[in-house]
């Protein structure tokens, strides 16, 4: 099977969805780039290069470079979704959600319910997220928790190229507003990705590893640190269930609960601020629904309760690292009730 990067996998999904369905459009800032310029069009193909090549294939009526105007991008996508198109809107950095959050959580998310099921909003909002680029407080945040808490939104956070393609194709054919969270650290990671179209269903967790001593749940790029820790532990004879929910909304509670019922120990990892986060949410679900199975307190490993700092040493201290994950895991394993 061909090996593709996370970036290529999403790009391929967009190409295939656009080829198959003429109602799929892509819009956002620099999704091709070079509009109105003397040099080449498709100069960026998205700031992360994910939408490269769409403009030459599908033209500027379906691949739309917009001015810098997030509220209008999302509002227009929502309006177009209500009236027959399937827009894939790009918001570049997830940090920019703030500019247009009304259009996301008061508008797109609520059409279907508020209008008694008469309206649909089949749109995807793509964004990039995550710390580690020394990009500072306004270009590094993972705000997945802010969208996960909104009823009506579906939230996808792929951790590998295979899932990224399948989840994107699922997102485009889904009839609800889907927030598609791409972790900037993952764009150049690769794995085997089939050429043909396929979907990965929402609300179905992936088991990266299966084991019996401990359950580790991780969201987005911290998953790869978790895997490194799990592999080290395996060398010591300790085996873990490593679970990637893949979508935080819907959330595959069953997979997590089933695993914890067997292992009795849980560590949850995300790269968000700790209060009211995804790790807290998953912890509370387990505490509520699998209390009887727990043999140790649940441990969360998250970022720090501060904006993302610029200085590399501070940013590294902010980000949950392998060592933090390993320490948490050992603490939970060593807890004797």
């Amino acid at each position: 099977m061909p090996v593709k990067t996370y970036r290529e996998a999403i790009n391929e999904a967009l190409h295939q969805a656009m080829a198959e369905d003429s109602s799929v459009i892509v819009l956002g800032e620099e999704v091709s780039g070079g509009a109105g310029c003397d040099g080449s069009r498709d100069a960026y193909g998205g700031v992360m290069g994910v939408t490269k090549g769409l403009l030459p294939t599908y033209g500027d009526s379906r691949v739309i470079d917009t001015p810098i105007t997030e509220s209008a991008i999302i509002g227009a996508a929502a309006g177009a979704a209500q009236t027959g198109l399937r827009p894939v809107a790009e918001l570049m950095f997830m940090d920019f959600f703030g500019v247009c959050f009304d259009q996301i959580y008061n508008q797109a998310a609520k059409f279907h319910y508020m209008f008694g099921g008469k309206a649909k909003c089949p749109m995807v909002i793509r964004c990039t997220t995550g710390a580690g680029w020394r990009a500072g407080a306004q270009h590094s945040q993972n705000l997945t928790q802010m969208v996960t808490m909104v009823p009506g939104l579906k939230v996808v956070c792929p951790t590998n190229a295979y899932d990224a393609k399948g989840l994107m194709l699922q997102a485009i054919q889904d009839d609800d507003c889907v927030i598609f969270v791409e972790d900037k650290i993952l764009y150049d990671t690769s794995c085997e990705v089939p050429d043909e179209m396929y979907t990965v269903p929402f609300g179905e967790a992936k088991y990266y590893r299966e084991g019996k001593d401990l359950t580790i749940v991780a969201i987005s790029n911290p998953m790869h640190k978790v895997l490194a820790v799990a592999d080290r532990l395996e060398a010591e004879g300790i085996t873990c269930d490593v679970i990637d929910p893949r979508t935080t909304s819907p959330l595959d509670e069953e997979a997590i609960l089933e695993s914890v019922e067997m292992t009795g120990r849980l560590v949850v990892v995300d790269e968000m601020t700790p209060r009211c986060g995804i790790a807290s949410d998953i912890s509370s679900i387990v505490a509520e629904k699998a209390f009887g199975s727990l043999r140790a307190p649940i441990k969360k490993v998250t970022a720090a309760h501060s904006p993302v700092p610029f200085a590399p040493n501070l940013e590294d201290a902010w980000i949950p690292q392998e060592a933090d994950i390993e320490a948490a895991v050992r603490q939970v394993l060593e807890y004797a009730s």
Partner: protein, 338 residues
């Protein structure tokens, strides 16, 4: 003042009545910005600067011309392209270098970096990594000035791209409604990242929009320090007298990429070379000053030399400075007990 957009491409007098002392100050500012950025570009390539850098190179006359008319307690707010605004407003250049290198002694203690460069002692309310983030905030600064009865003004620097953002429109309208001493200074460098203003600015021209909001607007050739100064003199005066907000659109070249490392495939053949040859505000100002006997080539060369060695000095100091202590991670999240 009429609400007509006034186009000022050349100052009425070729040096706009600028004194020698003022010119030398502005020239020094422009040269400092140019050299500072050349140095950080070099240090970025060497791996000594983390994160993103958006350079102001080519636009120096705008910040320098405007800031000649401002005091330390006037306010400016900037964009992601903020080094020039900070230096022109009197920002601490050594503290900037340390900040950009994420070192102790940086203006934001290493927590901000290039995209959040700020110097509150000098009324520089910060670079801003959210396009359109600044204009509403400067409306607040102008509101403080009006409410507190000072004759201070607030200037929101913005790009052509930022002129399309809803937050910018809202801020402009509110400033008119409240008749605030706010200046919206759009530096039209032709590009928002790799999208041309001729495509993204529907009205083609930013100044005429301001008229629609009910405030006077000027267009000025931003490569001409003297023209910028002449316009800003009128505009700052208008604001200090409590006559409400004004917009200025300054046309400028952008010599570098959107960010350092930008491949710039969207540029035309030979475009950058042509801009650097014909539209370099430092060259233009220097020529005009010498011709009008505001300064001699020798005097200006001496300034150039002095600034070059000053920039080397602050660079060495920043390179030698330690990184912030890890314990700084959780300081300053709140300003009072938590």
């Amino acid at each position: 003042m009429s609400l007509d957009t006034q186009e000022i491409t050349k100052p009425k007098a070729s040096t706009a009545g600028m004194s020698k002392q003022q010119f030398l100050k502005a020239y020094r500012t422009m040269r400092t910005i140019r050299d500072f950025e050349a140095k950080i570009s070099e240090q970025f390539m060497k791996g000594n600067i983390p994160g993103f850098l958006h350079l102001y190179s080519g636009q120096e006359a705008v910040a320098a011309g405007l800031c000649l008319l401002l005091e330390d307690d006037d306010y400016v707010i900037s964009t992601h392209r903020g080094h020039g605004h900070c230096i022109a407003k009197g920002g601490d250049v050594g503290g900037m270098m340390k900040e950009i290198m994420a070192k102790q002694g940086g203006l934001c203690d290493g927590k901000g970096g290039s995209m959040h460069i700020a110097d509150f002692d000098k009324g520089m309310l910060g670079a801003n990594a959210i396009v359109g983030g600044g204009p509403p905030i400067i409306v607040g600064a102008a509101l403080s000035a009006k409410t507190l009865g000072t004759d201070r003004v607030g200037v929101a620097f913005g790009g052509d791209g930022s002129s399309n953002q809803g937050t910018t429109f809202e801020a402009m309208n509110l400033a008119v409604v409240l008749k605030l001493p706010a200046i919206f200074l759009f530096e039209n460098n032709g590009y928002g990242e790799g999208t041309h203003a001729s495509y993204a600015v529907g009205s083609k021209d930013i100044a005429s929009r301001a008229q629609g909001f009910g405030m006077p607007a000027y267009k000025v050739d931003g490569t001409d320090l003297f023209a910028v100064y002449e316009v800003c003199k009128q505009v700052v005066e208008h604001c200090r007298q409590g006559k409400g907000p004004v917009t200025i659109e300054a046309n400028v070249p952008r010599f570098k990429g959107h960010f350092e490392g930008d491949p710039q495939a969207y540029r035309g053949d030979g475009e950058i070379e042509r801009l650097m040859k014909d539209e370099d505000c430092l060259v233009i100002a220097r020529k005009a000053a010498i011709k009008n006997k505001l300064a001699s080539a020798k005097e200006l060369d001496a300034i150039d030399e002095e600034i070059a060695s000053y920039i080397n000095e602050v660079t060495e100091a920043a390179l030698a400075a330690p990184a912030p202590g890890d314990e700084e991670l959780l300081t300053n999240v709140y300003s009072s007990a938590y």
